[in-house]
Symmetry: C2
Subunit: 483 residues, 2 copies
């Protein structure tokens, strides 16, 4: 079964909307075995409250989670929009033939063993899937991919229902499955929430450009994260990136930017990775933000998710303990932010309630050894919030040494509530640094504070260094100066 031409199905733009709203899904390759991958795709869809019709397909008769297991997708009654394939590679051509017969709109292959294997027959098999799909109107995601994530529709590829995930405004386009799972799970913990995303693997049919054009068009997506190893259509991708990056902040992580990484990418998604030099030029010309690792991507997604563009680069740091504030000023300036001295008038005002001995009323402000009582903190924030000599505020909450020093858990909780209350009245961007490395007690408490800040709309960074780097690049995006 080989046809000649792929019908115009509306690739890119709104043409892919249907992928994120399938009325029915079949998971093919399901068994009741605990380690069965089909089952690991199927059950989370139920937990994540997918509302359409869900059909397990497998070789075992019987039921799973109260649903009848079908022998073939052709046995499924009614229409079928979307198929998730977890069967071995050699059986996949037959499945695509069935998809054509069943008028399935898209099939996603978790199955691997295609072009990424580096073997000639893997490449041929992958091409055969495309050839068969072209006989109908079936589009392919993958192979060697995790497929579609869309929390508003209950679509997920995590093996557990993500505990903190909810719908948001960040879209992602990830060639890697593992990386996209990490992005969702860690991102959700940090308060980064997703509109739509795709792990698209080898990209034998639908590719990075199709999905980028879609995310550019999608109204629910305001920020875009891309993890890419290789590009199928260079010119088209460049054009799409140039169009979208100016309107929606687009953060790019390039996999395979070194020789060793490139070799790993070849065996991961069969990609020819290209040199880093090219990618730096691409990002510079399109306005996309190139990052070094997934942590840096999330640091930036956090800034774009929570903060209004600030009026400039001048930060005030509300610090805790002397050496830390010196370091904070250093890392902020090294990252390209400015930590200006306060005006004499502001220093006079601060001096009214912050004594100078054991504290600092310069920028950074530091009252650690006096204790940041809610009253002192609230007055300080009030003064700085309305001071036009600074553009944004960073508040440092070092959980480890806070608990070693003054006050206990409730004192630190009171500081957080004071800051959240201030935030509701302040027009400047407010950022918290909550570093909470340590014993399980500290870890647990740090997590609690982090979630409290997120609930108050305040993004949390794990270190001043990471906050400063992300904020500087965040500001550069709007100011269009080099970061």
């Amino acid at each position: 079964m080989v046809c000649e031409k792929l019908p115009q199905l509306g690739s890119g733009n709104q043409g892919l909307e249907y992928l994120f709203h399938p009325r029915s899904i079949a998971v093919v390759g399901v068994s009741q075995d605990d380690t069965n991958w089909g089952r690991m795709f199927l059950l989370p869809l139920i937990q994540f409250q997918y509302q359409g019709n869900l059909y397990p397909v497998g070789l075992q008769d019987g039921e799973i989670a109260g649903m009848k297991i079908y022998r073939s997708i052709l046995d499924i009654p009614g229409p079928l929009d979307y198929v998730i394939c977890c069967i071995p590679a050699q059986f996949t051509p037959q499945l695509v033939e069935d998809c054509v017969k069943k008028k399935v709109r898209a099939v996603q292959f978790f199955t691997s063993g295609f072009s990424e294997s580096g073997e000639e027959n893997g490449k041929e098999l992958e091409q055969r899937l495309v050839d068969i799909a072209r006989c109908g109107s079936v589009r392919i995601i993958g192979p060697n991919s995790l497929g579609i994530y869309c929390p508003s529709q209950g679509l997920t590829f995590l093996n557990t229902a993500p505990s903190l995930a909810k719908s948001g405004k960040v879209g992602f386009l990830f060639q890697s499955g593992g990386n996209s799972r990490e992005l969702i799970e860690i991102g959700s913990t940090r308060g980064i929430y997703f509109s739509k995303g795709v792990s698209y693997g080898n990209a034998c049919d639908l590719n990075e450009s199709d999905f980028l054009e879609y995310l550019a068009w999608d109204k629910e997506t305001e920020i875009i994260g891309i993890y890419i190893e290789g590009v199928k259509e260079g010119q088209r991708f460049f054009k799409a990136l140039k169009g979208v990056a100016k309107i929606k902040p687009t953060i790019m992580l390039k996999g395979g930017r070194t020789q060793a990484g490139s070799q790993a990418a070849a065996s991961h998604t069969g990609s020819l990775a290209g040199t880093m030099f090219v990618w730096e030029a691409v990002c510079q010309q399109t306005g996309a933000i190139l990052v070094d690792d997934l942590d840096e991507m999330m640091d930036l997604m956090l800034a774009f998710s929570y903060l209004e563009p600030p009026s400039g680069r001048r930060v005030s740091i509300i610090g805790n303990s002397g050496g830390r504030t010196v370091q904070s000023a250093d890392v902020c300036e090294s990252a390209g932010l400015s930590v200006p001295s306060f005006s004499a008038a502001i220093r006079d005002t601060l001096r009214e309630f912050i004594p100078e001995t054991g504290a600092s009323i310069r920028n950074p402000v530091d009252s650690y050894f006096l204790g940041w009582t809610p009253l002192l903190l609230s007055r300080t924030l009030g003064v700085l919030g309305s001071y036009d000599g600074i553009d944004l505020l960073i508040i440092d909450i070092p959980v480890t040494i806070s608990l070693l020093g003054f006050g206990g858990h409730d004192d630190v909780r009171a500081q957080v509530e004071t800051i959240k209350d201030f935030k509701t009245k302040c027009h400047k961007p407010v950022v918290a640094v909550v570093s909470y490395e340590g014993t399980p007690d500290i870890l647990q408490f740090g997590f609690e504070l982090q979630r409290a800040f997120i609930a108050g709309g305040i993004p949390v960074y794990y270190s001043m260094t990471r906050a400063a780097r992300a904020l500087s690049r965040f500001i550069s995006y709007y100011k269009k100066d080099p970061s």
Copy 2:
């Protein structure tokens, strides 16, 4: 009471040994109030099992923790070696006079409000302390400092007994108190253990050179961390640094390396910070390792604490999931490590038990989707451990996605035990990356794994990026090539 010349007490070298072995300590400025700083110095000394005589001194009569509170150090029966001062600045000259009378060997001032205040009378008061001390043989640590840390002697300045702290081989010389507390608390969590350390503040008498010469001489100290804002004796410090850094890895964090940081340093320890350019040159000429923040310092201390110098820069990465291994290879090579392809013979051997589909037998090795069973992991490690094409092994344990993917807690625990068992037989350095950002469950489990690795002598990094940067600089220290 002003004398002319400081007697030769043996500053530097072994001359300061007595500071770390005081036979008796008085804490001056103690009350029973919960927020009293004297009390916060006194009680941890008991918890930390200081074995010498301990004397609370304060204005209240009565007892604290079963010990009589003395009105003056002059009332203390028997000799007194060391005084910790927590009384307000204006009363400190009288205390130093008493110290001279009592033949105290050293007094440490937690008290601030001296030269760091920027006020002329603060500077004068500080000089007066020195002048009075010179009448006797009293040496001063500080003011505006936390003093001496020496776990083998039960000497601490943490306000709580550090839960995981024990004696080790890292010495520190920190101008800042807050930073040194953070170093101890977070360091101990990560398995970095300390021989001796000092938070020395304004350095009006004993300064950075005295302590550096001592740590250079001290046999218990094999690795040195320095946090410095300003230097009192530039030439002497340079000479000491040049002498020690070649023999004991010396990691330097410079506070006040930017304009804003420099201003903060002036108000923190009254230091003239100097330009970063000078410090880069100093480190290059002496062999000290200059770092950007405290995290990077600890990452390096960890490498020097646990690893034998490797034979070269060639790493093998044992990975978990495709996109992560591509990223791992990229960040290692970007940091200056090499991730070479395995020889055909090694690939053939690995192919015997790792199938190529859904896995990789190149470098990085990745068997995530097949599951790293103890048998598979152990065989893989066995092959790489005896392969002379690589110099060190990095094993990536992404706790977040491991738990989302195959296996539960016990499977990951089994992986850790397999690696620890392998380490007992392997002559190459072995490093683990355990990234465990996430919900409290993940945090708690990650901490458990981290402690298990530490118990097996395997250092743990929180991300591949941080591991790669630290390891590359660690190797450069021995190879003497630029990192």
